[in-house]
């Protein structure tokens, strides 16, 4: 089991620590509801150092990124970030990721912690064009500072203007006295803020500075549990739950990050294009439970007569909405907004209706 550079802070703050993706990670400090609310209303800080980081460099860098990822990386400019996925050769998804363009020959891929080894092997296997790849996952720490007051609070730590940064952009800047910190206006909560990448050696300095700068806004440390409810309220996919090696980007509703332009070829493009043109048998949808209860991962979805029509991939009470929500795959004819579906919870079929993402509209 690995530890992040912030573990001692989590322990001192009384976090409940669990093993997650090979790391000892804080799942909860004060309580999910309070942590969730802190992010929605003000600011919270997440240790996301378990995420993986791969550098892609050299004259073949763009060719490589274009081939392994589904989105069109040629549209990126320096300082811009893009959400994307690695399609596999069987029609599924190896992982979802963020692509950062530093310059024309330098890209940073940020991947899920649980998939670092799989992704690294996959990228190397696909690197026929000879881009320079480097796995920096063990050297980089990452904090996500999220919430409506996050940028305002973090502005105190840097001379570079960050409060006016556009969504999904990044800058290399001096932060808390540390040089060359990557400061990105990305996140997984739907409440705005930033994600900050630093060398492990600088992690302590930056943690202390972030907590100090956030003090006047009531900054709270946030665990993995609230990270999950925050992302679920936005309908953001969680790899391993909502997408995996067998779900296609099209059925997962990730057509918007799958670009079929003539200038871009990528792994398994013809098959995924067929999915896009002919439609898929199932679709990932969001739903609200109308009956009382909570839908959870792997619960069965049925129609009014009790016939199986799909499966829940994520589910929880939505703390900001006060209602139970979920995501799941259903047969395409049930994917329309307003469709009535039922979730089997302990042998009872609870009524639910399909709704549009995001659940939480701010």
């Amino acid at each position: 089991m690995k530890n992040t550079a912030f573990l001692k802070f989590h322990e001192a703050l009384g976090a409940k620590i669990i093993p997650f993706a090979g790391f000892n990670m804080p799942v909860q400090y004060e309580g999910i509801m309070a942590e969730h609310e802190a992010v929605r209303k003000s600011v919270g800080v997440f240790d996301v150092s378990h995420m993986g980081e791969f550098w892609v460099k050299g004259p073949k860098a763009l060719d490589f990124v274009q081939w392994v990822t589904s989105n069109d990386a040629s549209k990126l400019v320096d300082g811009k970030v893009q959400y994307s996925c690695f399609p596999n050769e069987q029609g599924g998804i190896v992982d979802d990721l963020l692509v950062y363009r530093v310059d024309a020959e330098t890209y940073l891929l940020v991947v899920n912690a649980a998939n670092v080894d799989k992704d690294w092997a996959w990228c190397n296997k696909q690197n026929k064009m000879g881009a320079t790849l480097y796995n920096a996952s063990d050297e980089i720490s990452q904090l996500a500072i999220q919430g409506p007051n996050a940028l305002k609070a973090m502005q105190q730590l840097t001379p570079t203007k960050v409060t006016d940064m556009e969504y999904y952009t990044f800058k290399k800047l001096d932060f808390a006295g540390v040089k060359d910190v990557i400061f990105a206006t990305t996140g997984y909560t739907g409440s705005g803020g930033c994600e900050v990448y630093m060398a492990n050696e600088d992690a302590e300095t930056i943690w202390n500075a972030v907590m100090e700068a956030g003090k006047e806004y009531g900054i709270k440390p946030i665990g993995l549990a609230a990270r999950d409810t925050l992302r679920l309220e936005m309908g953001y996919c969680l790899y391993g739950n909502d997408i995996n090696d067998t779900t296609s980007p099209i059925e997962a509703g990730l057509g918007w990050i799958t670009k079929f332009t003539d200038t871009k070829d990528f792994v398994n493009k013809p098959y995924i294009l067929k999915h896009k043109k002919e439609g898929t048998e199932k679709r990932l949808v969001g739903f609200e439970l109308i009956d009382k209860g909570i839908a959870r991962h792997d619960y069965e979805i049925v129609d009014a007569s009790g016939n199986n029509i799909g499966k829940v991939t994520s589910g929880s009470m939505a703390p900001s909405l006060g209602i139970p929500i979920g995501m799941g795959y259903v047969k395409t004819q049930y994917a329309k907004e307003g469709s009535e579906i039922y979730v089997k919870v302990r042998d009872k079929a609870l009524k639910a209706k399909v709704v549009k993402f995001p659940f939480y509209k701010g």
Binding site: Q28, T229, I294, P319, R346
Partner: protein, 126 residues
């Protein structure tokens, strides 16, 4: 963590407070802490007679779901109606306002099989 002296406990983290041949049942302070924020409690066994260690209901927290078991066999007389709209009472006051069911005990001898506060506290050490 609170473990009141006047209660009996199970290894599954329920408590029992005996009042004559009736008793109140709930989950312990330790259990509510492990579950985290509780959002829904389902008890549909009122009127039924259920054996010791059998399921009488389920408790849904934001992240997890857990069954609740009878500390002793008995008839479920009442479900704490306050929990319908305020399930968080179980987090706030697990031994008081957050009680879950009231039962009529079938066999009082089963009470002696439950854990004393001292024994139970041994189960909650990590």
């Amino acid at each position: 963590m609170k473990i009141p002296e006047n209660l009996k406990y199970t290894k599954d983290h329920e408590w029992l407070r005996v009042e004559g041949n009736e008793a109140f049942v709930g989950i312990t302070d330790f259990a509510q802490g492990e579950l985290g924020d509780i959002v829904y409690i389902e008890v549909e066994t009122v009127g039924e007679t259920i054996g010791k260690e059998e399921t009488f209901g389920t408790i849904e927290a934001v992240k997890t779901v857990s069954d609740m078991f009878m500390p002793v066999g008995g008839e479920v007389l009442e479900f704490n109606a306050a929990l319908e709209s305020n399930p968080e009472l179980v987090n706030k006051d697990p031994y008081g306002e957050g009680w879950v069911i009231k039962i009529k005990i079938t066999n009082p001898a089963e009470i002696d099989e439950l854990l004393t506060p001292e024994k139970y506290s041994g189960l909650t050490v990590h």
